[in-house]
């Protein structure tokens, strides 16, 4: 899976967010995503990461994403 596919999914869920997707191994299945979005404002980390997991639910469920590292930050 290409990083831009993941970026598109994240863009849809976090419009206007600052989104970075890195293919950690070059193999298209280990990703680091970094997102700064107002959607995270006031939420505990677990809820922030749940939003990211939900945005990428399909590729996570079918195994396209083998490993996902998440870093999130609110804008407030």
């Amino acid at each position: 899976m290409a990083t831009n596919v993941i970026r598109d999914l994240l863009d849809q869920s976090f419009p206007g967010g600052e989104i970075d997707v890195e293919d950690r191994t070059g193999g298209g299945d280990h990703f680091q995503v970094t997102i700064v979005s107002d959607a995270f404002n006031g939420l505990p980390l677990i809820q922030q990461h749940k939003l990211v997991n939900a945005a990428l639910a399909a590729p996570l469920a079918d195994g396209t994403i083998h490993e996902l590292r998440i870093r999130t930050k609110g804008t407030a």
Partner: protein
């Protein structure tokens, strides 16, 4: 014998700190499982580790319960606190130790492995 889901639920509900990992604390089979274990160890937690690798149904049932798609998964007093990234972040900021101290009171640092019965 109780079902796999009941066993998983029991571990989560009764272990002060439960971490579902790939492999064992002695031989983690995944870098992220190792990261979560290290963060828990550094925060002084009594760790109960459960290997999800012996049977794919363990992970399926766990994710159905927790609604968290990836491994590892860390639970403190029955509550999912997150995967490797959150556990590491909370350890780095010192929040993990505070959370564990508050949730458990006085405790000693231990590492145990719990094997689920799969038929």
């Amino acid at each position: 014998m109780s079902t796999l889901q009941e066993q998983i639920k029991q571990v989560i509900d009764t272990e002060p700190v439960a971490v579902f990992i790939k492999g064992t604390p002695e031989a983690p089979a995944c870098g992220n499982s190792m990261r979560a274990l290290q963060a828990l160890w550094q925060s002084g937690a009594p760790i109960a580790a459960i290997d999800v690798l012996p049977d794919p149904r363990i992970r399926q049932e766990l994710t159905a319960l927790s609604e968290w798609p990836t491994i590892p998964q860390v639970f403190v007093k029955g509550e999912l606190i997150g995967g490797a990234d959150i556990t590491e972040e909370l350890n780095a900021s010192g929040e993990l130790r505070v959370k564990i101290d508050e949730a458990l009171g006085e405790h000693t640092q231990t590492v145990r492995t719990i094997a689920l019965a799969v038929d």
